[in-house]
């Protein structure tokens, strides 16, 4: 199996996934959760099946810029502009009277626009700081080329995830593709996993390079990838098992979260095998020191 030799194919595949995402991010942006836009969000469960259109008609009478989306046969998601206590109470009472809402199965969030922006800007900054520290650590343990390749693979995963999220939220208009605080957590998890996964393969390369052999650098890298392939796939499979289980049974409000984790872990596995290590080879060719 020659993974390194076909590296351009794998780079292309990554681009094919990332590019639409970047275009979507640039032109359409994201579907922002109320954490960002500010407003109220009712994640309501009813004791009987309900039509989003009927709820929408009812909400329109309040003129609170409400959008109602179906989220299951007896669930809807309502987003409104920020509401006063009076409006909030009126809406609850009205919906409870007309649609038989089960409030004990529902969640309601109200957010001012500053909080989430701080969280995301903060999270971006944290990813940056963490990346710099990881680069320093890996530069000591390996060398700076390995460190930068690991960070590039990490960025790959971040772009895959955010790109798919932009497409999911804006092109498919799915509530799953909403950027909220849970998505930020999922992105952080993916970053942790991505670096972890890459390092394991790098360790193998480091070990093989130390041993005297007639193999070229390229052959060495390819051998290392093959040698750690079983491990990479096994580990990812176990995590993916847990996540698929979580995704299938998770309630609507955290489905997006588990889906983000799932996409990120798959991307993380792919990028460590097909991007990070072949990148080392590309670099070596450009700068054969």
């Amino acid at each position: 199996m020659n993974i390194v030799g076909r590296r351009n194919l794998y780079f292309l595949l990554s681009l094919a996934i990332i590019l639409p995402g970047i275009i979507s991010m640039a032109f359409l942006g994201f579907r922002l959760g109320i954490d960002f836009a500010g407003g109220d969000q009712y994640n309501l469960t009813f004791r009987q099946p309900v039509q989003a259109t009927a709820v929408q008609k009812e909400m329109d009478t309040f003129s609170v810029e409400a959008t109602v989306q179906q989220a299951g046969s007896n669930r809807v998601l309502i987003t409104t502009r920020p509401l006063s206590l009076k409006e909030d109470t009126a809406i609850r009472n009205d919906l409870a009277a007309k649609f038989n809402v089960d409030f004990s199965q529902s969640s309601i969030a109200e957010v001012g626009p500053t909080i989430a922006r701080e969280l995301v800007v903060g999270a971006g900054g944290l990813i940056l700081i963490a990346s710099i520290l990881i680069v320093i650590y890996l530069s000591i343990r390996f060398n700076y080329k390995f460190a930068l390749a690991a960070i590039l693979a990490l960025l790959h995963d971040v772009f895959v995830l955010t790109g798919i999220w932009s497409i999911l939220g804006k092109v498919f208009n799915s509530p799953l593709g909403e950027i909220n605080t849970l998505f930020v957590t999922a992105a952080l998890t993916v970053i942790g996993f991505s670096v972890h996964d890459t390092i394991v393969i790098f360790d193998r390369i480091r070990e093989n390079l130390r041993q005297a052999s007639r193999l070229s650098f390229e052959q060495n890298v390819n051998l290392s990838i093959i040698q750690s392939l079983a491990r990479s796939l096994n580990t990812s499979m176990t995590v993916i098992f847990v996540l698929v289980a979580l995704f299938l049974i998770s309630p609507q409000n955290i489905k997006g979260f588990t889906l983000a984790l799932l996409i990120g872990i798959v991307s993380g596995t792919y990028s460590s095998i097909f991007n990070a290590s072949p990148l080392l080879v590309v670099w070596r060719r450009l700068d054969p020191r």
């Binding site: 409030f103 969640s107 969030a109 989430a116 944290l126 952080l188 972890h196 394991v200 580990t235 309630p251």
Partner: protein, 468 residues
């Protein structure tokens, strides 16, 4: 390497201790005849005096798992003083309001320089806003002979209004709107802490007349006292030593530095220090939270079962070892969450699930190496030692970089991100122990057992005998 009996004993002790802590809540519920589900009452606190450690041992569930309302309040337009000072005053007011409303498990804490986090388990958003929206009202009363009438008993806490039998509280007309500032001070002669308050001109006139009248009564007589109520509660009942007409007054009365500070805050808080607005609020229905927990646990158990099955099929005997190590790992991690009161939220669960993956990964790394060494024809014992030894740098470097991420997230992140970082860090730490110490010791035991020496048990074909 041999089996280290001391290490094995250590693993056994830690595992048993962890299982005890994990199961403790259930034992406690049965022992105290409490139902096995629902909120637990009167959880005993574990105290280790010399370490200053004190913690109730149960899983602290975040509001997203427990149901309730989480509010983040922001203070703007501070009237006097710094924004931090205003924040502390506001925390004191809100704490008192929340506690007087009977929400014992509520959390009120400052966040950043101008934010306050309020967590109210089992309360919906509407109720929460009513609790927080209530204005706090400071009033000064005097004691006069008589019995309190019905309207006074309605206005004040009956227990406080009837503090001195034969005396009733009478409103002096002085309230929080007439206090411009209150601060902690020190008596220059006795060096004891006291509280200095400043009045508006109108407040000063009233207070001057009031104290002039009160000092005519001997000390010890309730009529000599000045009673400060906030909302319905008596917060201070102090002696009046001299008339006070200088625009400010000093309240003495056996304060500690802390109680003087508290009173100053309470006096200031009779009028809110600034505008408090809701920056964010989240309400999670109680059943929704419970079903999230149930689903997460189910997913966790299901995921763990698949992982174990996979490890058994793929790695055979070592897979069994890894599965046992994984169960011990889960027990220890859960026990640490309980011991240190780590609050479990959805984000925290994500961190934990990721750490399970990493714990498995350490074992997978070791076993893959083990297989390679066995295929190379090494003896079982030597292969096991080499497997652990050669897998170590990968485990070390990958986990350290994860810990670096956790460290950054924990120290600089928002609360949600902190929860994630701490569960992931605990998970990674424990998984290193589990993979390196536990798995290695178990493998060494296997190497010593004759029936466990067949290579097929490790998923490896015996190397073909060399041609003679």
């Amino acid at each position: 390497m041999r089996v280290d009996r001391r290490l094995l004993a250590l693993i056994a002790v830690i595992a048993v201790l962890a299982l005890f802590i994990d199961g403790f809540a259930y034992v406690y519920r049965i022992a105290t005849n409490q139902p096995l589900t629902g909120p637990i009452r009167g959880v005993p606190t574990l105290n280790i005096g010399f370490l200053g450690f004190s913690q109730q041992i149960y899983v602290h569930k975040g509001l997203d798992l427990q149901g309730g309302t989480h509010l983040e309040l922001q203070i703007t337009q501070v009237r006097t003083g710094t924004i931090q000072g205003a924040r502390d005053i506001a925390v004191a007011i809100i704490e008192r309001r929340v506690n007087s409303s009977g929400y014992a498990e509520a959390v009120v804490r400052p966040e950043g320089s101008d934010r306050i986090i309020v967590e109210l388990p089992g309360v919906n958003l509407e109720q929460a806003k009513q609790i927080l929206g209530k204005t706090s009202y400071l009033t000064i009363w005097k004691w006069e002979p008589g019995t309190p009438d019905a309207s006074t008993l309605q206005q004040l806490n009956p227990k406080d209004a009837q503090k001195y039998p034969g005396y009733k509280p009478v409103f002096t007309g002085i309230d929080g709107s007439m206090i411009t500032n209150a601060s902690r001070s020190t008596d220059p002669t006795t060096n004891l802490p006291d509280v200095t308050i400043s009045f508006s001109p109108k407040g000063n006139d009233l207070f001057c007349a009031f104290t002039r009248d009160r000092v005519t009564h001997p000390q010890g007589d309730p009529q000599n006292k000045l009673a400060i109520f906030i909302d319905k509660d008596l917060v201070e009942d102090a002696n009046v030593i001299s008339e006070i007409c200088g625009g400010s007054a000093i309240i003495t009365g056996g304060f500690t530095a802390a109680s003087a500070q508290a009173l100053a805050i309470q006096l200031n808080s009779g009028s809110l220090p600034g505008t408090i607005s809701i920056a964010s609020a989240t309400e999670v229905g109680a059943t929704l939270g419970a079903s999230t927990v149930k689903l997460s646990l189910l997913a966790g158990a299901f995921g763990l079962a698949i992982v174990i099955l996979f490890m058994l099929l793929y790695y055979r005997l070592p897979g069994l070892v890894a599965s046992i190590a994984l169960l011990i790992y889960a027990a220890i991690a859960l026990a640490i969450f309980k011991l240190f009161g780590v609050t479990l939220t959805l984000a925290g669960l994500a961190g934990f699930i990721l750490s399970i993956g990493m714990a498995v990964d350490a074992n997978v790394l070791i076993f893959e190496r083990l297989k390679e060494e066995l295929r190379a024809g090494r003896t079982l014992g030597a292969a096991m030692e080499a497997g652990v030894h050669r897998a170590w740098p990968a485990i070390r470097d990958s986990n350290i970089s994860t810990l670096i991420t956790c460290f950054v997230l924990y120290f600089f992140g928002a609360p949600l991100i902190k929860g994630f970082a701490i569960t992931l860090a605990v998970g990674v730490g424990v998984s290193m122990f589990s993979a390196i110490v536990t798995t290695q010791q178990f493998l060494q035991i296997l190497a010593g057992l004759r029936p466990a020496r067949r290579l097929a048990l490790y998923g490896v074909q015996p190397p073909a005998p060399k041609a003679a």
